[in-house]
């Protein structure tokens, strides 16, 4: 019926600019770009596909530019595959996904290629135990497409175990794993800092940095700022490292002085964002794709201002503001009514609740920026700390804010809640929500109390609480129902992308249509079964509720 073919026009958009150069200053260097559905950044590893070669080449983008005649070029530092340097490896058996970084002086180290030769992005992790290399976690090593820890010198034709300080004019820092690669091992030891600082940090960052940012997509900006404060909130070593990075930025050649500081800081933030995205194994490709155009421009001024503020405040706000980096309004929410409205304590719960309602509203737009990525992370950290609770049997029409108000009313604890979104499968009788308390003891106390003594909500609903064990969407590869015929994986890289963007309605006289009908049939059957189950559940519930002696009015 209707087909959306994008065969001929492959999407391309430049990302962040880096500076100008060339003899006539007419060459524009870039730091990132969006090409054919994928985001690329400087120092990303990419596949370069050559006609006739069974396997693509793998290289690292070390320079990206556009000439005056609008041709786009990239300079690529190559990785060698084991079979390419098998002569020098001798009898050694290397794992299939090991690569060797090209280094030294000579031909074959790097090449300039047209940007259009890029066939895809590649996840290459450096597993070297070198002190300069941020160590990857086991998870990352597992899911990396390739690993490397050695180099191959093209001048001497030798394998080097230690990677040089500078290869092809690029500092080794950029060639190794990116700094700011946050693993779960990194988080717990910094949590104590986070707790005190995070509240303020986000607030200050929000009001200052968000106000000054020129970001296209708030989501990217906010997560960058989140990352920013993350880094700054850590101990001094991190600050020193950032300083170092700025120095390094000045050192690397052919960059405009003015933009270099910005560029490095941004790169850092972006890089850590990229890595965080990779390391949390996003199912959400959407956030990846849509953030292609957005690069947060954090003015160094704003960043400097925020730093001194942050170091001062931890002493002052020790009364544990809740630990999640979610919108400030919600944060301060739980505490303000307490502080300023100490007088009217009887109406305490009601008034608090009232005040929570409106302050959610101004934040609604901003809260969209913080959605998705940060929530999943806070949930993960909460889960590891044991503060995550799952509430069931709520009225499905409750909102997250109402749940928080409820918890406040009942337990006098502030928390973050998130109602689980309803899908076609969820039960219309029982709504669920995740609640993150501040401490594990509080969470356990709440669950225990809900267990022993029933908390009845209106309409005969006793609340059910339990320590939650959520499942995080990982790299899901099992989706039943999508079939393919040919298994040629290499050629599929580009073809698959094109096929992927072709969505269409099936025509009645094809095999595809018949199979689709079979799926429809199965779907109908499942729906019927689900409906029957729901009816039965409703009946059971109604019977029990009828025996309740006292009823709360809605």
């Amino acid at each position: 019926m209707v087909e959306a073919e994008k065969a001929d026009c492959i999407e391309f958009k430049w990302g962040k600019k880096r500076g100008v150069g060339g003899k006539k200053k007419d060459v524009q260097f870039y730091e990132s770009f969006f090409y054919d559905g994928v985001d690329y950044t400087l120092y990303d590893s990419v596949y370069m596909y050559k006609e006739g070669e069974p396997e693509p080449y793998i290289g690292k983008l070390i320079k990206i530019w556009e000439n005056a005649d609008k041709t786009k070029k990239v300079k690529v530092l190559w990785f060698f595959r084991p079979h390419e340097i098998s002569n020098y490896l001798g009898d050694e058996k290397t794992p299939k996904n090991e690569l060797f970084l090209a280094s030294g002086e000579g031909v074959g180290n790097t090449n300039v290629n047209p940007l259009e030769a890029i066939a895809g992005k590649c996840n290459v992790v450096c597993s070297s135990k070198d002190s300069r290399n941020p160590q990857p976690s086991d998870e990352e090593l597992q899911e990396a497409d390739f690993v490397f820890y050695r180099a191959f010198d093209v001048g001497n034709c030798r394998i080097l175990d230690k990677i040089d300080e500078k290869i092809a004019g690029i500092e080794v820092k950029f060639l190794l794993n990116r700094v700011g690669n946050q693993n779960s091992s990194g988080v717990p030891k910094l949590d104590s800092n986070k707790k005190e600082v995070s509240g303020n940090a986000v607030v200050i960052d929000d009001t200052r940095i968000l106000a000054k940012k020129e970001s296209y997509l708030g989501e990217k900006a906010a997560s960058s700022s989140g990352v920013q404060f993350d880094e700054v909130a850590k101990t001094n070593e991190r600050q020193v490292l950032v300083e170092e990075k700025l120095k390094v930025a000045k050192a690397s050649g052919d960059l405009d002085d003015r933009s270099c500081k910005k560029a490095k800081v941004d790169d850092l933030a972006k890089a850590s964002y990229d890595n965080r995205v990779k390391s949390t194994q996003k199912l959400r490709h959407d956030s990846n794709d849509s953030s292609s155009k957005a690069v947060a421009q954090i003015t160094p001024a704003a960043e400097d201002k925020s730093r001194p503020k942050l170091t001062k405040d931890p002493q002052e706000t020790n009364n544990a503001l809740s630990e999640k980096p979610k919108p400030d309004e919600k944060l301060a929410n739980g505490k303000f009514p307490e502080a300023s409205l100490r007088q009217p304590s009887e109406e305490g719960s009601k008034t608090n609740y009232k005040i929570q309602e409106p302050t959610r509203r101004p934040a609604t737009d901003r809260s969209k920026w913080f959605r998705g990525l940060p929530w999943e992370e806070t949930m993960q950290t909460a889960h590891e700390q044991g503060t995550l609770v799952l509430l069931q049997n709520l009225d499905p029409s409750y909102t997250s804010a109402e749940v928080e108000g409820l918890i406040w009313q009942v337990f006098k604890q502030s928390c973050t809640a998130k109602m689980i979104q309803r899908t076609a499968r969820s039960s219309p009788h029982s709504g669920q929500a995740f609640v993150i308390f501040q401490k594990r003891e509080v969470a356990e106390m709440a669950v225990a109390k809900l267990d022993e003594v029933c908390l009845m909500l209106s309409n005969g609903r006793p609340l059910v609480g339990s320590i939650a064990s959520p499942c995080f969407p990982g790299k899901q590869s099992t989706f039943f129902g999508h079939l393919t015929i040919n298994k040629l994986r290499i050629h599929m890289q580009r073809e698959m992308k094109e096929a992927v963007s072709t969505s269409h309605c099936s025509q009645p006289n094809t095999l595809e249509y018949e199979m689709a009908m079979e799926w429809r049939l199965l779907q109908e059957r499942s729906d019927l079964a689900l409906r029957k189950l729901r009816q039965q559940q409703e009946q059971e519930l109604r019977k029990l509720r009828a025996t309740l002696k006292s009823k709360l009015e809605l």
Binding site: Q421, M456, P462, V464, C471, G481, Y513
Partner: protein, 252 residues
């Protein structure tokens, strides 16, 4: 009705709060510096519209939200490889896509298909999407499992505003209360239902897997069949045979 006055003395750097009733100050307290910061934040918050002067905006917001819900389509049975841009291109055929939000799955088993909320520009487009996808099997990012589309519902959104005028009440029911027994039973029942749901889901996943495998076999068989036919026609065997038997098939 009393009100609080916050006085900040810039020279002395002190913050004093006074409570006034009827024009008379009946209570005053000096706030410590630790509270200073909270005070600033509170002022910041006051500078944005507060509850007192905008119950009407609550209603307006909610109405706007409901309108958005009407324009939104809930799409189900998506492969995990579907990205936002794919969704946009796919549903962009029916109109303008304003927003795409995937609903993350934190509770269920890992293999269930993904779902998303797609906000269209107007009600008519949303209806068009739903009707087309329901009538004809719509393929996204792979075949042959079709995607499903429904009109969205309020509870599918996670950032929804509160329905104005709603109050939540609750009470504790302890052992002495006559309703305790029933309440406990209901709690058990809720847990049982959740388990039933999960079980049903797993059964259905197993069925889906079976169907997928079956179809894969069929597909392979058909593919083989068609390649054989293709080969036979292209290398001349079929036309040759046709000539031999005086049939008018395969005349190129």
């Amino acid at each position: 009705m009393y009100y609080l006055i916050y006085e900040f003395d810039v020279i002395g750097m002190t913050l004093v709060v006074k409570a006034n009733y009827d024009g008379m100050c009946f209570w005053t307290e000096k706030l410590g510096m630790s509270n200073l910061f909270r005070f600033w934040m509170y002022c910041y918050r006051l500078s944005v519209p507060s509850y007192m002067d905008s119950t009407s905006t609550a209603v307006a917001d909610y109405a706007a939200f409901l309108e958005k819900v009407k324009r939104t389509v809930y799409v189900d049975n998506l492969s995990p490889q579907v990205t936002e841009s794919v969704m946009r291109t796919a549903l962009g055929q029916f109109g303008t896509v304003k927003n795409v939000q995937f609903i993350p799955n934190y509770t269920g088993p890992k293999n269930i298909p993904c779902c998303a909320l797609v906000e269209m520009e107007c009600l008519r487009q949303a209806e068009a999407v739903v009707s087309e996808i329901t009538q004809f099997p719509f393929m996204m990012s792979g075949m042959p499992r079709p995607a499903r589309a429904f009109r969205a519902e309020v509870e599918m959104f996670d950032d929804r505003p509160i329905k104005p005028g709603r109050r939540i009440q609750c009470r504790w029911v302890d052992r002495k209360d006559p309703d305790f027994e029933v309440a406990s039973k209901i709690k058990r029942l809720v847990r049982k239902h959740a388990a039933e749901d999960l079980f049903l889901l797993q059964q259905q996943l197993a069925q889906e897997e079976k169907l997928a495998k079956q179809q894969e076999e069929t597909l392979k068989a058909n593919y083989k069949k068609f390649t054989i036919i293709d080969n036979v026609v292209s290398d001349g065997t079929a036309p040759g045979l046709a000539k031999f038997y005086n049939m008018k098939a395969f005349d190129s």
